[in-house]
Subunit: 234 residues, 2 copies
DNA sequence: AATACGGTTCTATTGCGTGGAAGCTGAGTC
DNA sequence: GACTCAGCTTCCACGCAATAGAACCGTATT
């Protein structure tokens, strides 16, 4: 029965899955070449070409004169639409900005992705010349990162979670959960070079991050309706 | 032979096109129901269901407990990625903010979409209680709108284009082109209710919009590299 | 010149996408 | 409760169209 179900479970069209895989591949690696797409998705070049052409005529990818593929206007548009439907982005922007104003480090808005992933949804870039570069759109495995704890709603009594050199060496992360109706809507996450953040400043920054996460939380609480991406909870 | 060529011309997989159509449909109308998707895309319900399931297992759409479809995490993620690759978004944000600070009206960043469409990429929302509501992600036909002229690089000697009650009644639009290397990278667009914008304020706002477009233009000129979505021009 | 590699076109094969039919559920109506 | 209707779902036989390999071309690389 196991194989029967596993065969049955598919309920999914191979062609479309492959095309979506290609779309993701192009979106993740800018200026991708056909053969690179074919290799990384495990498709025959001719198949990849045909599917990419389909994506191209549909406007989801563009092909430059050099022959490389990049995200197309249609994807950008749908992305803007989907992001516009994420109410957290608007709510969090001022807080991200205030964190940057206070700390000079890059500040991110993070939400849950699948089961064990987090998505970096938005950022305000830090002002130091050495700073964390953009991770917007990146998805990471949660594992036991600071931001993972925050997304699970954990907090120290200080209101934030911090971790040094965990995800990447020399990067210190400070995270705090954005709460909503008993659940967690997302998290704020500050990322900066470890050498610039000693224990005292870490605590200082942590309090700022925690405070801003609290600000957003109370905004959410004051509003009717649920953040779209939490709807399924009800 | 006519049917032979028309069959040949496709060079495009029907299945994928249909799936992408469904994806766009879901992204455009939030909380879409299966039958609505099937109807608006002209698919048999069973076909639409199977394709939507594929999109669902791939994470491009989510299905709520109520059975309605909405943009999934994967789409949000790819959207954030694609938008992050649009250098204009970062560059334009401060200008949009300054326009809103000065005018109180909603300000948009617009880029060319396909041949005759424009995409509302980003916005900063106005502060008046009656204001233009979000169009982020929306695509419009260019026709002879103010923003269309701006995207073609047209300018009056005052540096901006304005139009009353054209796209929608009671909406006044003020637009100015963001120039780059002899081409047009995009446009800034202010939208507000006509009753609040008489000729004098229109001119005042127009100067602000034109100035900010100029600021972005000179930033672009000062940088190496091209905005990604203009690459094909070279 | 020789080689290798990426891109493209073409085509026979058959895998699989398709849509109609038929159950199923739940909501609305009398 | 009985009836109806609409939306959702499953199933399946049919036949279209997606597939991958072979062959060809243009372009770097040595």
């Amino acid at each position: 029965m196991s194989e029967l179900t596993s065969a049955r479970v598919s309920a999914s069209t191979r062609t479309v899955e492959r095309a979506l895989g290609l779309l993701a591949d192009v979106a993740e690696h800018d200026a991708r070449t056909l053969s690179a797409c074919a290799r990384s998705t495990g498709l025959a070049p001719s198949t990849a070409l045909r599917l990419l052409r389909t994506l191209e005529t549909s406007g989801f990818v563009t092909r430059s004169a050099a022959g490389t593929y990049r995200p197309g206007n249609r994807l950008v548009r749908l992305g803007a639409l989907a992001l516009g439907r994420q109410p957290l982005v608007d709510r969090a922007r001022p807080s991200l900005q205030r964190i940057v104003d206070h700390t000079g480090e890059s500040a991110y808005l993070v939400i849950r992705g699948g089961l064990d992933t987090a998505i970096y949804l938005d950022m305000v870039e830090g002002t130091h010349s050495i700073r964390h570069t953009s991770w917007v759109g990146r998805a990471i495995e949660l594992e036991d990162l600071a931001v993972a704890g925050a997304l699970r709603g954990e907090r120290t009594e200080a209101g934030y979670l911090a971790q040094r050199d965990r995800l990447e060496p020399d990067v210190t992360a400070i995270a705090a959960p954005i709460r909503w109706a008993g659940g967690v809507a997302g998290a704020l996450n500050l990322l900066g070079p470890t050498y610039r953040i000693d224990d005292a400043t870490m605590h200082d920054y942590g309090r700022v991050v925690a405070r801003e996460a609290g600000v957003i939380s109370s905004h959410l609480a004051a509003e009717a309706g649920a953040p779209a991406h939490l709807e399924e909870v009800r």
